[in-house]
Amino acid sequence: MTDSTPKNIRRTIRQLCLIVVGMCCFVVALVPLYDLFCEVTGLNGKTGGPYVFDPAATTPDTSRLVKVNFITNTNAGMTWEFRPEKGAVRVHPGELREVNFYVKNTSDRVMVGQAIPSLTPGAAASYFHKTECFCFNNQVLQPGEEMAMPMRFIVGRELPKNVQSINLSYALFDVTDAMGGVGVTGG
């Protein structure tokens, strides 16, 4: 754009550049917007963070039972053994339940694992509450170390009546390198 460029063309260029900048901002905003959208709708099956539960304030809904299935898998390259204590439990909505997951580091080095939950149907994700979960933190295991990891959950009383079973899957990722490898050895 030289000084001889007519005024109207300069104005058009400025407007178009604004669109480009605007779209760049839009892309940056897409990431939080996407997370927000998924959180509101529960679409991607992500479950929420730690939940505060007061047993005195809630009575279990004994009129129905919901089956909760547990599925575990390890991501590609993750050598740990990872399995739930039970494949499935039946719970009353509003009732606090604890289940254990077992994990064993079969390698000969210190490793860090991180479990990522995913829940189907997505519509149930916002009614599935966890007061304690190993997925809130990552796990550091010494070579050959074995561990039982508790997970305490409540299926909300407001769970839609048509949901009779919930599948909760945990994928275990190896995050040793991402955590800085050697730096976590002591932890």
């Binding site: 754009m1 030289t2 460029t5 007519p6 109207n8 063309i9 058009t12 260029i13 178009l16 550049c17 669109i19 480009v20 779209m23 760049c24 839009f26 892309v27 940056v28 897409l30 990431v31 996407y34 997370d35 998924c38 709708t41 679409l43 991607n44 991501n75 991180q114 990522i116 189907t120 997505g122 519509a123 994928a171 990722f173 190896d174 995050v175 991402a178």
Partner: protein, 460 residues
């Protein structure tokens, strides 16, 4: 290699060819001396050789070139990608910058440099389609740049946009990519609509039927392209409402597209038609693009898509809209405006030979892929089961015919430039538009004084 084929054909062949046509034709068609910003144009062109040099160099790198398909879904393109992916990312950045600059130039030219009397609704359709395409480019290229930048951060700076282990979401990549990707596929077809809308009236010797509805159809296709992206990913696990929305919005696109096909057909209806090479390519465009459109409708049906998804049926679909669609329109444009560019006529017989070889080659290549796709042959997998061997053999023969027939094209062009007969200013007597009032070949700077726009040259 397949990844590079896709990327080069999308970003290196179809798009630059359309931008090139725009640069050559737009100033003549709107009655301007040149594009508004020649220097920016120069920059946007000279970025491309470097971008593609960088991208092609990845083929010779350790670990090989990008191997994750032109859609580069994360984490396949981040966690599991070869090291050369960083070069790919920067190449995409450069192509995006080039496209944005080209688009700014095109819009600035169209909006500010039209001859007096050429109102928006009197503009030739190639100008209209490019105006809308350029807006699409400006809107979605930053989205693509954002997606590859997030990939770059995931690979090198430890972020987790698309990495589930760090709280990211791989499905988000698909949403962002296709929010760019769907307008992108219309970027590759809208200018083709414009070209065909010039050629068919010229050889039917009738004004274009339904000019206004053509303009509105293009505008509504462009708008719809922003709200249909998830039809590329019906199988990721969407709620029913989402699937229904994207299914219906996708099918809605068939309406403006149908209006266009109807108008082209109505333009030919009772026209005094002749079948020179550009017209042959334009008619083949209408027929074969419609076939591609219909297979698109089949794919849009969500429950059916579960069967077709990621099979060769999809490959057949998008090659039908891109090769006999976008590419045929570019070839038609080259034949149609060749006399204007060079001042010479090409050899009509050889041109027709080129057309028939291409037409047969394209259909022999891509039509059997519908069948192998419906029989379950997956795409993106280099090897295939034995029962698909016959269909693939037919496709290969067709591909060789199509490939070699382009050598005929090359011969026609070179022969035309060197030994063609001189062309008249109005090389086709039915052609209308300001560019045909200029001598052939067109001077470097066309209209130094804004021309008067006679009604006879106006399309609308």
């Amino acid at each position: 290699m397949t990844t590079n084929h896709g990327l080069i054909m999308v970003f290196g062949a179809i798009m630059p060819a359309f931008v090139g046509l725009a640069n050559w034709l737009l100033p003549m068609q709107v009655g301007a001396p040149d594009m508004a910003l020649p220097r920016m144009n120069n920059l946007s062109f000279w970025i491309l050789p470097f971008a593609f040099g960088m991208m092609l160099s990845t083929l010779f790198m350790e670990g090989g070139g990008p191997n994750f398909g032109w859609t580069f879904y994360a984490p396949l393109s981040t966690t599991y990608a070869p090291d050369s992916v960083t070069f790919f990312i920067f190449a995409v950045h450069m192509m995006g910058a080039s496209s944005i600059m080209g688009s700014i130039n095109i819009i600035a030219t169209i909006l500010n440099m039209r001859a007096p009397g050429m109102t928006l609704m009197k503009m030739p359709l190639f100008v209209w389609t490019w105006l809308i395409t350029a807006y699409l480019l400006i809107a979605v290229m930053p989205v693509l740049a954002g997606a590859v930048t997030m990939m770059l951060f995931d690979i090198h700076f430890g972020t987790s946009f698309f990495n589930a282990a760090g709280g990211g979401d791989p499905v988000m990549f698909q949403h962002i990519f296709w929010f760019f990707g769907h307008p992108e596929v219309y970027i590759m077809i809208l200018p083709a609509f414009g070209i065909v809308s010039h050629i068919i009236p010229a050889f039917a010797r009738k004004p274009l039927f339904g000019y206004d509805s053509m303009v509105y159809a293009v505008a509504s296709i462009a708008f719809l392209s922003f709200i249909v992206w998830a039809h590329h990913m019906f199988t990721v696990g969407m709620p029913l409402a989402g699937q229904l929305f994207f299914m219906y919005s996708t099918m809605l696109i068939a309406i403006p597209t149908g209006v266009k096909v109807f108008n082209w057909t109505a333009t030919m209806w009772q026209g005094s038609m002749s079948f020179e090479t550009p017209m042959l390519f334009a008619i083949a465009f209408v027929v074969l693009f419609t076939i591609g459109g219909f297979s698109g409708l089949m794919l849009a049906i969500t429950p059916a898509d579960y069967q077709y998804h990621d099979t060769y049926f999809v490959v057949a679909h998008f090659h039908y809209v891109l090769v006999p669609g976008a590419l045929f329109s570019i070839i038609a444009a080259v034949y149609f405006w060749f006399p204007k560019w060079t001042g010479k006529m090409y050899n009509e017989t050889m041109g027709k030979a080129h057309f028939w070889l291409s037409f047969i080659g394209v259909n022999v290549t891509f039509f059997p892929q519908h069948f192998s796709g419906l029989a379950g042959m997956p795409r993106r997998i280099p090897d295939y089961a034995l029962q698909f061997a016959d269909f693939n053999m037919i496709s290969s023969i067709g591909a060789f015919i199509f490939g070699f027939s382009q050598l005929v094209f090359l011969y026609v062009i070179i022969h035309g430039i060197r030994k063609g007969k001189p062309a008249k200013a109005r090389a086709w007597e039915g052609a209308r538009g300001l560019e045909w009032t200029l001598p052939s070949p067109a001077p470097y700077h066309s209209f130094t004084q804004p021309p008067h726009v006679p009604d006879a040259e106006v399309q609308g």
